[in-house]
């Protein structure tokens, strides 16, 4: 399976490793913008942060 990127105005293809190809197959038909990626990462960070403060919050109730 190949990936594509525009390098210096030309579309070049490159061979994807097995794991990355599997991820592409899993996400086929979907797209992600830089903003989407940032939001996904920030959401995960928020979830993790809340998980970590959970015990503290419990003690303050």
């Amino acid at each position: 399976m190949k990936g594509y990127a525009i390098v210096n105005g030309r579309s070049v293809s490159f061979v994807l490793s097995r794991g990355l190809a599997a991820a592409h197959r899993r996400n086929v038909g979907q797209s992600i913008s830089p903003l989407d990626a940032i939001m996904i990462v920030e959401e995960r960070r928020r979830t993790r942060a809340l998980k970590h403060v959970g015990p503290y919050v419990e003690t303050r109730r």
Partner: protein, 151 residues
């Protein structure tokens, strides 16, 4: 060898197919060992969290990365979690920090120490990436991608 620190957003974007996916090219270059891909345990933790479900891909990333252990916690970026990437970059004197998040309060400076902040598109179009790709040969085969028009 070139040292890179790669923001988690880039790893996430790399996992989606696209007609123009410079993030995937950078990640593939890292998996192929064309540059030293540096992380800290905190960054690796975040990769693992965000890439949950793509176990094969995550395993490849883990096999390819170098882990450093910064001694100081920095607070140079107002969005606190982003400081982990700057800590990694400064502790190994990384050449580039690749991110899409250059908004105010994030990676909003062009340099942190000697580390240059770059978007994936800018990095793959740089002379440095071109020379890496030339040397590697096998990563990008240089062929026009299936009739896709160059933009």
């Amino acid at each position: 060898m070139l040292k890179l620190v790669v923001d988690t957003c880039i790893v996430k974007m790399a996992s989606f197919p696209a007609e123009n996916n410079p993030a995937a090219l950078i990640v593939q270059m890292g998996l192929n060992g064309l540059f030293e891909w540096w992380v800290t345990p905190a960054i690796l933790d975040e990769y693992t969290d965000v890439m949950g479900g793509d176990d094969g891909f995550l395993a490849e990333v883990i096999d390819s990365i170098h882990c450093c252990y910064p001694l100081n916690e920095l607070s140079v970026i107002s969005h606190e979690p982003d400081n982990r990437f700057v800590e990694a970059a400064l502790s190994v004197s990384a050449d580039y920090l690749i991110t899409v998040n250059c908004a105010r309060g994030h990676f909003d400076k062009p340099f942190y120490g000697d580390t240059q902040v770059m978007s994936p598109g800018r990095f793959v179009n740089s002379q440095v990436a071109a020379s890496l790709l030339r040397r590697a040969g096998g990563v990008a085969d240089g062929s026009e991608g299936g009739g896709r028009a160059a933009e």
